[in-house]
Symmetry: C2
Subunit: 451 residues, 2 copies
């Protein structure tokens, strides 16, 4: 059976891509004040385009870069909120781009340029899905609310502030985010779990200044050694976090998850080769993928104290610092885990030194129920759009906006990625497969009909 909407997408894909290229030409680099004008111009261009499709669209200013908000009614009163971001990463390293970052170029069916996959290309699939439904069915099957921020790449908080203010009015029945990836080029995927995060640092202070290791060595605590000893008291050599009660609230992997992860045939050797490491490392009893997606971590992000120059300097450092992040999984509460970690660090630190602990914020983990009908509908839509089985995956990283949505808007969040890790988001020669763009557009259209 021919799907008229799919046919429309096939017939118009060249124009869709030309429009996307226009969208990508805006250097909407939110991190750089020099691009503030371009960033706003980009947002205005999107608003104009959505208005052209019939949306009630405008910019919302709550400080920082403006938010694009566009609403259109549909056959049902069910409201699907589509999140995306119109800002992009800086173009560095410029010299490594084969074609200029803001002059989108197609080579061998791949669209190159900044924002191709992150996130202009992925968002454009949804915009063009909406157009295709309108042109082929006369109206949308449900209400669609676009909410596009301009500070995703610069860590701004305009969107979370807006969400908190406007939650009573936004009230979506489902949220769709296409700012993630498929499992691989042949495996469309929906992400149902994200890890959370706590970030902190501790500093161990010993003598007021670096002192001679001959004069004082053996007599006083060495802050660098103490830092190492405290860290080693937090994680065992085989990767188990030793903080008491750290794992208490971790939702164990379910049988279907272990089975489903196993079927993905994650290649340990390929990862080791890519990273140039001898082999993976971590908590016993879990596969690499299980550890990456479904287990919490305690990582040192930075470690420093004392002499960093050439050869040797015979000192006891005055202080040493360790920067730490823990990735969390459902149902770990970031505030509780933060407290457990701080208490443990303090408890293993002897009273022969002073310790300072700084907190750098938290982000909660999320885990969606894959049996939710909305998420099942999205899976079926993606299967149709890509013509392949669509799997459920988790993600080891954190997407703070998802936690914000989950916390304030209380509806299912569909993480429907059309990109690939290898698309080079944030790096030079960022790109997006036009085949994925077309299949993503079809998936997005099916989803609005099925949700």
């Amino acid at each position: 059976m021919v799907d008229r909407t799919e046919s429309y997408i096939d017939a118009n894909q060249q124009r869709f891509v030309e429009e996307l290229k226009q969208y990508m030409r805006f250097p909407s680099v939110s991190a750089q004040r020099a691009h503030d004008k371009d960033t706003r111009a980009c947002a205005e261009w999107v608003v104009a385009h959505l208005k052209g499709l019939g949306f009630d669209a405008g910019l919302v200013d709550v400080g920082g870069q403006p938010i694009v908000r566009a609403l259109m009614k549909g056959k049902s009163s069910k409201r699907v909120m589509i999140y995306g971001h119109y800002d992009v990463q800086p173009e560095d390293p410029v010299a490594e781009w084969k074609t200029p970052p803001f002059e989108p170029t197609i080579r061998d069916g791949i669209l190159y340029g900044r924002g191709a996959t992150d996130d202009k290309g992925q968002l454009w699939a949804h915009v063009k899905a909406v157009e295709s439904l309108l042109k082929t069915e006369g109206e949308l099957p449900c209400e669609v609310l676009f909410l596009l921020e301009g500070e995703e790449e610069s860590g701004g908080d305009a969107l979370p502030r807006y969400i908190r203010q406007a939650k009573a009015e936004l009230k979506p029945d489902a949220i769709v985010i296409s700012d993630s990836t498929m499992y691989d080029a042949n495996t469309p995927a929906l992400t149902y779990g994200l890890r959370g995060l706590i970030a902190m640092e501790f500093t161990i202070r010993g003598p007021a200044a670096d002192v001679h290791s001959g004069a004082y060595g053996g007599g006083i605590a060495n802050p660098a050694m103490m830092t190492a000893q405290i860290l080693a008291a937090c994680v065992s050599r085989d990767g188990k976090v030793l903080v008491p009660h750290f794992y208490d609230d971790v939702v164990p992997l379910q049988d279907w998850e272990r089975e489903s992860f196993r079927k993905l045939n994650f290649n340990d050797q390929a990862m080791a080769k890519e990273l140039n490491i001898p082999r993976p490392h971590g908590e016993a009893g879990y596969s690499t993928l299980e550890r990456l997606w479904a287990r919490p971590t305690f990582e040192v992000n930075g470690l420093f104290g004392g002499y960093q120059g050439q050869r040797s300097k015979t000192i006891i450092p005055a202080w040493a610092t360790a920067k730490i992040t823990c990735r969390l999984v459902s149902n770990q509460d970031p505030a509780r885990v933060h407290k457990l970690v701080v208490e443990h660090i303090r408890s293993v630190c002897p009273d022969t030194v002073r310790i300072e602990i700084n907190d750098f914020g938290t982000s909660p983990p999320v885990l969606f129920d894959v049996n939710d009908p909305t998420i099942r509908a999205a899976q079926e839509a993606m299967r149709k759009g890509f013509g392949r089985e669509t799997v459920f995956i988790r993600c080891g990283g954190s997407i703070p906006v998802v936690s914000t949505f989950a916390e304030h808007l209380g509806c299912p969040v569909i993480l429907m990625g059309f990109g690939l890790d290898s698309d080079g988001p944030h790096g030079p020669n960022e790109h997006f497969s036009l085949d994925s763009f077309v299949k993503g557009t079809k998936s997005a259209a099916h989803m609005l009909r099925m949700i």
Copy 2:
């Protein structure tokens, strides 16, 4: 009974100090090429002065700064070699000097200026002791060989090279070094033990570049955490070195040493206050002084890897490095301990990362027999010169030249310090008590008669 030599010293001390001031006016900063001319001029001035006293004196050039060598026969054929260095530390921080570093100034019986205590003032006591013996007794009681280097403050190796070349000809019966300190202002001391040193660093290498802690956290080894875990496997939280066989060759403290250290009433609280630490820390079963002087250590001098900026960065660092020194005590063999430490570090490092270890050299510990008649004679000489009981102490630091002497010249080395730790060697406002200078001169004269 009046000692004519002591009377001569008392009568001439003002002139002695004026000469010392002349000596200190040379900015003989061996570390700075701009001062090479001054450094050589200083050496030449010393040679001329020693010639004036009747020495067969000259400069020995073996590359680097010249060595001052001066010999005079005496009543006995016993040869006492007096070591010193005519070079000094740079003057920094210049702004903190109350009077210019190279314009020696006396305030309240204290001589201020670069080199006052380290080592021009201490050496001058020996030169003036020799003069006083010559003027009052007509000849020296024994042969005296001055050997003064110009690279002590810049880590040059001219002297060790010369020692190795000339050892068959130097053949001293005793070596005297006055480049150390008394126990405190009221306690003259001879140093009979110095700690040795091994220095190294290890680097743990993980992924080829820093990677995202969300994407890879839990899946691969974290080089910073691994570095911490390795260090923690080398030293327990209560300060015991965990390297197998590390303590095997340590000569245990003898009863007289523990008793003698105890009598010095080392003040833990005073040290803690001076360093601004809560209290001392270290190996159980030993007093602070015992740990500082007679126990080996494993210290981290520097620790670095990953992000060192503000707040947080969610990475797994590509690598991390720890710089390590161990202080050794007799009879630990630096080469053997180095090997034990390297083997242990390798054995506790898992094969999920790569490790590199760099060696930065070693220096053996020394421990002299306090019952040696020469050392006993020096003790009695110092007791006479200072009019106080002279104690035997150890030193937590290392003086590489002492190991060189001990190894190549095979005779007792007398470490007869006239300075104090609080004299500020290497810092601004370096100074030397004129009272100690005079008493040191008397001690040096007595020693040449009694040795």
